[in-house]
Amino acid sequence: MEGVIYKTLSSAEAKELNIQTQGPKESEAFVSAFLKRCLPGLREEVIQERLNRKAVILEHSVKQKKKQKRKRRKGLSAKEKRQLRLFEIKAEQQRYNLFLPLHNLWKQYIRDLCNGLRADTQPQMIQTKLLKADLHGSLVTVKKSKCPSYVGLSGIIVQETKHIFKIITKDDKLKAVPKCNTVFSVEVDDFISYIYGSRFQLRSSERSAKKFKMKGSIDL
């Protein structure tokens, strides 16, 4: 069968079909010219290489994906943030005196928030304002705690995290006080409000958006 297909046409048959037979050289020239026309952009050597029969492996090959270029990001991932220790303050560098201006700034801020503190302002109003106010820089005292060694500690809040107040005391010591099971008192111009730490276990940025429930039992 194959022999019949690939056999060159005999001159008699060619005459019958009105076809000119081609010699091997002519056909080769024709093929190369044809390929050149059909595959523009490829060099001659490449075309010749393609013409050489190569074994084709019939196998499923997984295309290797090119490694995608990492997107240029400006921000840091949470892991990188942790590794860089962006927010960890060095305890040795902190001194109480350095935070007095911050405390004064905070007092101004609270006065501004409550439209000026006067003796006749309602403590209720101050409390609701304080709930959403920022506590960095406020002077607090630990009033009650499950752990007795915290009681009586007073200082300026330097950092507020989800579960901890970092407080700098007058003798230049940075204390981390857990909010859980602790009652703090905040003093603003003779007004004293109490903060129940167990209810305050939020990041300070989350507090401004949260709605607090008025009722609910508080136990230490």
Binding site: L86, F87, I89, L105, K132, A133, V158, S208
Partner: protein, 146 residues
């Protein structure tokens, strides 16, 4: 005075945090972490409550590490020429991120343009109400024709 501003307390808090960061850095320039913490808190609050910050504030906070960019303390400010344009390049000293600002005296921020003011903005509410009424009338008119 300006009228009632929504989220006034939150704005006051943002302003306090920004000032606190400045205050802390002014007292102890080594205390970058704490200033960064305040700026980060400020940014998360403004994100949470969708409060826009003024460009002057945004331009002084690093986008990557949130530190407060003060020229000479936590950032370097240089004038560079790039393709014939002069630009101000602010580089954060703790993470190395740069901000580039073209020196274009004619450039105006949105907040500096007169249209940005609330009084100058067209009031679209009245038009929409009129349109709604028209649609209602059309709907009423349709059953009559049937």
């Amino acid at each position: 005075m300006t009228g009632h501003v929504k989220d006034k307390e939150a704005f006051q808090r943002l302003s306090f945090l920004y000032q606190a960061a400045h205050c802390v850095l002014a007292q102890n320039p080594e205390n970058v972490e704490l200033a960064r913490f305040y700026c980060h808190t400020q940014k998360t609050i403004s994100k949470r409550l969708v409060l826009r910050q003024d460009p002057s504030v945004k331009r002084t906070i690093c986008k990557r590490c949130y530190s407060l960019l003060l020229p000479g303390i936590t950032a370097t400010v240089r004038q560079r020429r790039h393709y014939g344009q002069r630009r101000t390049v602010v580089r954060c000293l703790s993470c190395g991120l740069t901000k580039r600002f073209l020196n274009n005296p004619n450039y105006k921020l949105w907040s500096e343009q007169p249209e940005a003011l609330l009084e100058n903005q067209p009031k679209p509410e009245q038009n929409t109400i009129v349109q709604q009424n028209q649609q209602k009338e059309k709907k009423k008119a349709k059953p009559d024709t049937k």
